[in-house]
Each structure stands twice: as C-alpha cells, then as structure tokens.
C-alpha cells in the first residue's frame, strides 16, 4: 500500500498527463464523419509508432556485451520504424486520393 502511495506521489505529473490525454483523445475523435474513419485509424496507427523511442532508448542504454539485448533491440527499432514510416506513408496515400477533388 505504501508502495502505491509512493508511486502516486512520485508520478503525479505522469498521472495528470494520462488523465488529460484520455480526454483529449476522446475530444479529438468525436464527430468525425465515417468517411474518415479509415485514414484516422491509419494516422493513429502511425502515431503509436512512437514506441520506437523506447526501442532506441533500449539500444542506447544496452550493455555492449549483451548480444541478446542488442539483437532484440535491433529488431524492436526496425519494427518500430516500419510502424512509423509505413503508417504515415499509407495514411498519406489514402488522403492523397481525397485531395484530388476539384
């Protein structure tokens, strides 16, 4: 129990961010026309590619002798990049089609 209270008081800033971001997420998506659901999902998909930052941090902080950690980290960075680059490019391609209207 003390551990939990410690956790909350130590991480109050992050807890605030989590709570506020939940509301921002709800607000941002509300009342979007169904037509844009697919690009929106795809755009959101690219944004959670932010997980790549974690993968990079793993690599930067890894013990240079730990081959397993380095290989897994390498794969994690690669997959994270796929998520980010592929996600944004695919979203852009979907939206490119919408733009063609005159």
């Amino acid at each position: 129990m003390t551990e939990l209270i410690d956790f909350i008081s130590n991480n109050l800033q992050m807890i605030y961010i989590v709570v506020l971001m939940i509301f921002v997420g709800v607000e941002v998506i509300g009342h979007v026309p169904a037509v844009l659901h697919t690009p929106l999902m795809s755009g959101a998909n690219a944004i959670h590619g932010v997980v790549i930052i974690g993968a990079i941090l793993v690599m930067l902080g890894a013990d240079p002798e730990n081959k397993l950690a380095l290989s897994l980290g390498f794969v994690a960075v690669l997959l994270g990049t796929l998520n980010v680059v592929g996600g944004f490019v695919v979203t852009d391609r979907m939206l490119e089609m919408f733009k063609k209207k005159k």
Binding site: V24, A34, T38, V51, G54, V58, A62, L95, K100, K101
Partner: protein, 463 residues
C-alpha cells in the same frame, strides 16, 4: 532520470503535433496536412532521442540503430507505396502489429534491469502482454483480410477457453511480479502465452468485423507504447500512446455504432455462424433467382432516368473502380442521372469505398451517404449493386432472428429494378442469405465485376 531541456522541449512539440495532427485528420480539407504535421513531430522526436542522448554510447550501437532505422524506412516506404488501394486496410493491420511487437520486445529486454521494482516490473509485463496480443492478433487480422484465413475458426467453447487463458496470463504475470522471480523462462512463457491469446482472440471473429478488431488492437498498441513511456518517464511516448489508446477506443465504438452492434457482440458474438445450431443463423431464404444478361442490363440502364450504384467489397477485389467510373460517365453522357450510394461500412473498412472511388476522380457530390440517399430509392429506376451484399440485406429491417437485424442498410429494395452483380451466390462476409436476391424486381448479373462492367460499357457504346 536526467532531463535535457532541449530534448524535453522537442518531446513537448512532438506531443502537440500528434494532437493537432489527429484533430486535422478529422476534416477532409486538412487531413493530409495533419498527417504530415504528426509525421514531422515524430521525426523530430526520434532524431532528438538519438542525438541528444546523454551518456556514453559505443559507436557501433549508433550504427546498429542507424541500420535498423534505414532498413525499416526502406521496407515500410516501399510496402506502403506499392500496395494497391484495395489492400490498404490489411497493411494498417500489419504496421499495427509491428508496433505491438516492438513494445513487447522492449519489455523482454528491460525485464532484467528492473528486478525488485514491483511497479516497473508490472509495467513491463503489461507492455509484453498487450504488445504481444496486438502483434499476433494483427497478424491474424492481416491474414483474414488478404484472404489467407478467410473462415472464422472456432474451437468449441472458444469464449470460455479464451477468457480462461487471459485470466491465466494475468495470474501468471501477478505471480512473476510478486514472487520477485528473475526467471527469464517465465518471462518468455508469458510472452508466448500472450501471443497465443492474440491468435485465439481474433481467429473466431468474422472477416467483416476485422475493421473493428484492427481499431481495437490499434488502441492496444497505443496503450503498450504508453506503458513504455511510464517505464522510462518518457513524456512523448506517454502522450502519443495514451492519445492513440483513447482515440482508438472511441473510434472502435464509432465503428460498432455504424454497424449497430456492441463491441462485446463483435468479439464474443460468433457473428455469421451459419452452421451454428440455429440460434443466430437467421432464417433461410426460400425462392428462386432471376438471371440477367449483359445486354438486358445495358438496355435497361440506357432507358433509365436515374441509376444508383451500390459499391461493395467485390468492386474493390475486382479492381473495378475505374470501370465503374467509366460506366457512370457513359450513362451521364446519355442523359441518365447516376449516383453512388455509400454505406458507412461497405468494403472492409469505414470509408473504404470513398477512398477507392476518389482514386478514380469520381466527383464528390456523386457519392451519397446512406441517410441522404435512402429516400431517393423510391424514385430510382435501376439500382446496380456491385459486389455488395450485407449492406443491402432487407433482413436487417424485417428479420429479428438475423444477426444483422437492426443494422442500418441501403434500401435498395425500394427501387423499380435491382441488378445485382456478384461472382456467385456465395453469401457475403456476414455469411447469411440475402432475400434481396430473390426479390421479384431483382435480376442477378453473375461474373467478375470488372469484366461485367466492361461488357456493359461496350454494349452501351453500341447503342
């Protein structure tokens, strides 16, 4: 935890670009710019993380990171650029899975560095479970959408087995946390268990519901990324992850609403289970169908005043979007009024048909949304249903035993004549019969959509 002002500032800006980007993605005029803004923020955050890192890092690690990013960029770029418009939904699922796998791998590596810190271990295990489910689930969804595994596979009592497995995963994770074990074996067992759960979670769900599943797994990956942010005290991961987790959840519910179904019905419902013992299969439709020839249909259309086209996934599969646009222009030049009636969930994803038809430069005001076009069917001479099925099934209105009962549909049955193009009499993704096909006013025009439409165009040109 060392903070560098410069990096924190970049993270703040990046977080703002995600919010603005998502907001702009919600409006057709600003959507593309919004995506680019978020991409710019992401690039800044990645470069900042690498170049503003405090601490001694051997050069070869930088090289490894560089190589991984380079490979990922080239592969992701090529894959995204080369994919056909019809395959985009499954690609979103694929990339989503990559993010989930990345989150799970981070957890696998970091486990040994946080021994003794209960909450960090809890965060790590959470990231592994959610990330792995998202990965394996997305791969199955990817396979279902590209046709590798079309049929929902159900082991008996799958709901009970799945829920027990999930419960087991939580209990096992709890055991790892509170026993303070350092066993890597247990960690990998948990990882494997979560992968298996992801597969079992998606396998019983029908292909028509994959958009909802992908959206749900999308928000899972967001959550996994946010857990990583919690672990490192990294604000950009936290904001980006929670934002997607929350937005993705709302989007999931919005998609369920468009189909008039609840999320639990999608996940546990066993939708479209025709060989089920009857409880939810919907009643069988009796009657005979009428076949039409291409020239019959061409004549009918030529002398119509108003034609409404109802596109569905079959149009996308046959790559018939250009052909249908040509047919539409040809009819217009003959004085026939032509419109497209777009059901919100036609195709494999909401908005799928709009994207597909926009590719061919169909004029925007020709794409009519369901609510606007439904009253017009009464005054329509011919409805041309191309590769759509469930979205025009009248059972949604008048058969309470049907699994799609209550779903809003396009009232194609109100038109004077209905022409249905399908490859065969196979039921749609919902796996249920469609009484519209047996309607007195309906004629079936069997064949591949592109070929049939091309033949229609040739016939019409000769008139």
């Amino acid at each position: 935890m060392e903070y560098i002002f410069g990096l924190e500032f970049i993270y703040l800006i990046a977080s703002v670009t995600y919010i603005i980007g998502l907001k702009m993605l919600g409006h057709p005029e600003t959507a593309r710019r919004g995506n680019l803004i978020a991409a710019a923020g992401m690039t800044a955050a990645i470069l900042g993380t690498i170049f503003l890192y405090e601490g001694e890092v051997p050069t070869f690690i930088y090289i490894l990171i560089g190589v991984a990013i380079l490979i990922g960029t080239v592969l992701g770029w090529l894959k995204a650029k080369r994919v056909q418009m019809t395959a985009m939904p499954e690609l979103v699922s694929l990339f989503n899975g990559m993010g989930g796998a990345s989150a799970a791998l981070i957890g696998l590596i970091e486990f040994e560095h946080y021994h003794g810190n209960t909450l960090s271990i809890l965060t790590i295990l959470g990231g592994i479970i959610i990330g792995s489910i998202s990965f394996s689930g997305s791969m199955i969804a990817y396979g279902k959408l590209n046709g590798t595994f079309q049929k929902p596979i159900r082991i008996p009592k799958y709901n009970i087995i799945n829920n027990l497995l999930l419960l087991g995963l939580f209990v096992f994770a709890g055991y790892i946390v509170w026993s303070h074990t350092e066993s890597q074996l247990f960690l990998y067992l948990l990882f494997l268990g979560a992968l298996v759960y992801g597969i079992l979670f998606v396998v019983p769900i029908g292909g028509a519901d994959m958009p909802v599943v992908i959206s749900l797994l999308n928000s899972f990956t967001g959550l996994a990324a946010a857990l990583g942010g919690f672990l490192y005290g990294n604000m950009v991961m936290l904001t980006g992850g929670i934002l997607v987790g929350s937005a993705g959840t709302i989007l999931t519910f919005a998609m369920c609403n468009a189909m008039n179904r609840s999320l639990s019905n999608v996940i546990f419902g066993g939708f479209g289970d025709t060989d089920d013992t009857g409880a939810e299969g919907g009643s069988k439709v009796q009657g005979s169908i009428k076949k039409a020839s291409v020239s019959d249909v061409a004549i009918l259309m030529n002398y119509s005043q108003k034609v409404i086209i109802v596109p569905g996934y079959g149009l996308a599969v046959a790559q018939a979007q250009h052909a249908i646009h040509e047919l539409e222009q040809l009819l217009e030049s003959k004085g026939v009024q032509v419109k497209y009636a777009i059901h919100p969930v036609a195709g494999r994803m909401p908005g799928h048909m709009n994207v597909l038809l926009a590719e061919t430069n169909v004029e925007y005001d020709k794409l009519a949304e369901m609510e606007d076009v439904n009253p017009e069917f009464n005054s329509t001479d011919v409805v041309f249903v191309v590769g759509a099925n469930d979205v025009v099934n009248p059972a949604a209105h008048n058969d309470p035993s049907s699994p799609i009962y209550g779903m809003p549909i396009l009232d194609a049955e109100n038109a004077k004549q209905i022409i249905v193009n399908k490859r065969s009499m196979k039921p749609g993704y919902a796996g249920i019969d469609n009484e519209l096909f047996y309607n007195q006013k309906t004629s079936m025009l069997f064949g591949d959509a592109r070929k049939v439409i091309q033949d229609l165009i040739n016939e019409l040109k000769g008139m």
